[in-house]
Symmetry: none
Amino acid sequence: MSLRDDILVESRDMLIKQGFGKVSMRKIAKKVNVSATSIYLHFKNKDDLLLALVESSIEKLSDALKDQMVSSDDPVAKLEKMANSFLKFAIENPQEYEIIYMVRHEEMPKYPKEKFEQIRKIYEMLAEIIREGQENKLFQVEDPLMSAYTLWAQLHGVASVVISKRLDTRIPSGEFMSQAKNHIIQGFITQKTPV
Amino acid sequence: MSLRDDILVESRDMLIKQGFGKVSMRKIAKKVNVSATSIYLHFKNKDDLLLALVESSIEKLSDALKDQMVSSDDPVAKLEKMANSFLKFAIENPQEYEIIYMVRHEEMPKYPKEKFEQIRKIYEMLAEIIREGQENKLFQVEDPLMSAYTLWAQLHGVASVVISKRLDTRIPSGEFMSQAKNHIIQGFITQKTPV
Amino acid sequence: MSLRDDILVESRDMLIKQGFGKVSMRKIAKKVNVSATSIYLHFKNKDDLLLALVESSIEKLSDALKDQMVSSDDPVAKLEKMANSFLKFAIENPQEYEIIYMVRHEEMPKYPKEKFEQIRKIYEMLAEIIREGQENKLFQVEDPLMSAYTLWAQLHGVASVVISKRLDTRIPSGEFMSQAKNHIIQGFITQKTPV
Amino acid sequence: MSLRDDILVESRDMLIKQGFGKVSMRKIAKKVNVSATSIYLHFKNKDDLLLALVESSIEKLSDALKDQMVSSDDPVAKLEKMANSFLKFAIENPQEYEIIYMVRHEEMPKYPKEKFEQIRKIYEMLAEIIREGQENKLFQVEDPLMSAYTLWAQLHGVASVVISKRLDTRIPSGEFMSQAKNHIIQGFITQKTPV
DNA sequence: GATGAATGAGTGTTCATTCAT
DNA sequence: CATGAATGAACACTCATTCAT
């Protein structure tokens, strides 16, 4: 593994464990066992390093979700698969998830927003599924894109609550997520109005 | 307005805009136009200042939601009122909301966790409504407390997405929140399974 | 007891326990339970306070030793009495002793050296005793004043070693001081040169 | 001379002239004409710097005295040589002497006491000489180790009085020290009790 | 007599970054 | 590729002191 990768690994770890504000070039250098100066041979500056971190995280998420699109299931099943994958990714890669969704943009002022555009493709994917279900009268929605965003927002809420450990300790997170996901999907499904 | 209040206002702003790690006594002082030393006349130290910030935010939210509980409506209407109030508070007091729900606990190591317990009462309130609806067969849930948490998590996702401006610019946030809220409530309501 | 006295007591304690550098007006104020400002009603400034401390300490030592001069003993007994009193004072009032003899002059730059002149009277007293013994051929010295200083220097060495706890823990300080005093006096007494 | 040495020189000077409490990294830096930060390239922190100071001082004294032990003189001459060397060291290296013997332990809380143990060897050396003289009936002492300590304490008194300029200006310090040394040695030598 | 509010200077320390080698 | 030396700016915090009340 190259020094560049070592630096990325350690700084990701530090970013996750101590937060953005506490990432320090010197501390990274010490962990990787090189001089602080050496980091500058691989990254222009601190922001450049953090940017690399964000980029790789986004890519990882994108990959994880793209895999779910190849299925030939019906829209509801597709949606569930997507939701499952999204939550699974968040729980299994909380560091990357936080970097993407929970770090305030303002904390990385020099970060080019375009990079985040890549994430938008995920919503487009969601919107596509919803549109398909809408045509089949399976989903009761007005605007598929907006619905994609509301769907994702709800999933994000669930994920972030678990990741940031804001859940009551009496509630098992696995079951919580599963139930939440059911409620969320249920909220989109067409239904005979109760008599 | 007293200097103490000025300090609170500015530091709240700084906390929100730049994150915990970036709040600095000196910067606050500069903004408020006093010497850094003066802050220590009103707050024992940085942690004490931040704590005051959190406390007042939590109180504000608590007050806002308690007001909604006096209604004599049916459970569904109550739930909607609560959801509306919650989202309204988040949008109208994004700073306070962020302090309560979006600041990483790890970034405030010395903060006494008990204070956050006060928020739990909100979930109890939600759970109570859901339990009532459950008895009336209006809501289709298993465990009211867990459902309260999922409901809140979904609302939180919606609020946080709007507050942190992660919404697609093409989507009007007002409508987004209204639709999201509908979907969320819908997800809890008992329904004849579609044929 | 007046506030002025309270301040003196506490600051003496602080001076002794933590050293000159650590004496702080604020900390004194906190201990005495008044505002820091109040100290300035009784002392012009920090140096003025420290000066008062030194003055009272010197006075205390002077008083203790003057009492020993009224005796009508022979010079050797007189010298022993003085030595005993000096060491006794040092051990029983280590704080005052330190202030007088062990605090560096440079640490109190604004202190008027004349005050210390008062101590010189002690050496004059010693010199007087030695001169008396010299005339009686009891003491074998050249210059009584110089001998007074060497005598005192030796006593001071013994006292300071005990006070600053530089003695080997295996050595009981009482016996150490008693033996040291004997050696010191012995060093002045006229003797037949050993055969 | 390296920057490290420059820092040591200046901080030693400051330590002596103003006391422990007044040694400041920034002031040192200013004197040495570098940025305060640069000191941290050579010393981990302030304590580390002060420790280096103490260590080198102790070593210097140890070396100076060890040289005197090779002689094959009789015990009295040996003792005199030791006394001379000790006083000579104190006068010629007042800074180092003060660091070792006159700085309050309490002012250096984090300093590892073991380092000072090295000084104890000096007392052991003294005790050895005294024991030798005791066997030859040259010295009239009870416990050689305790006597070593009293001997040293007296020498220390003499040295510290001179170094801290507490001597009457009418008294030439050279002669004072020489006479004092004679008195001190005399106090240990066996003598026919005066008839 | 006593206080609260305020301040400028100072403390040790960490930071990102540069530069010559 | 890598480093050691260096720095200015920033950090939280403490200090002695002043002033209006």
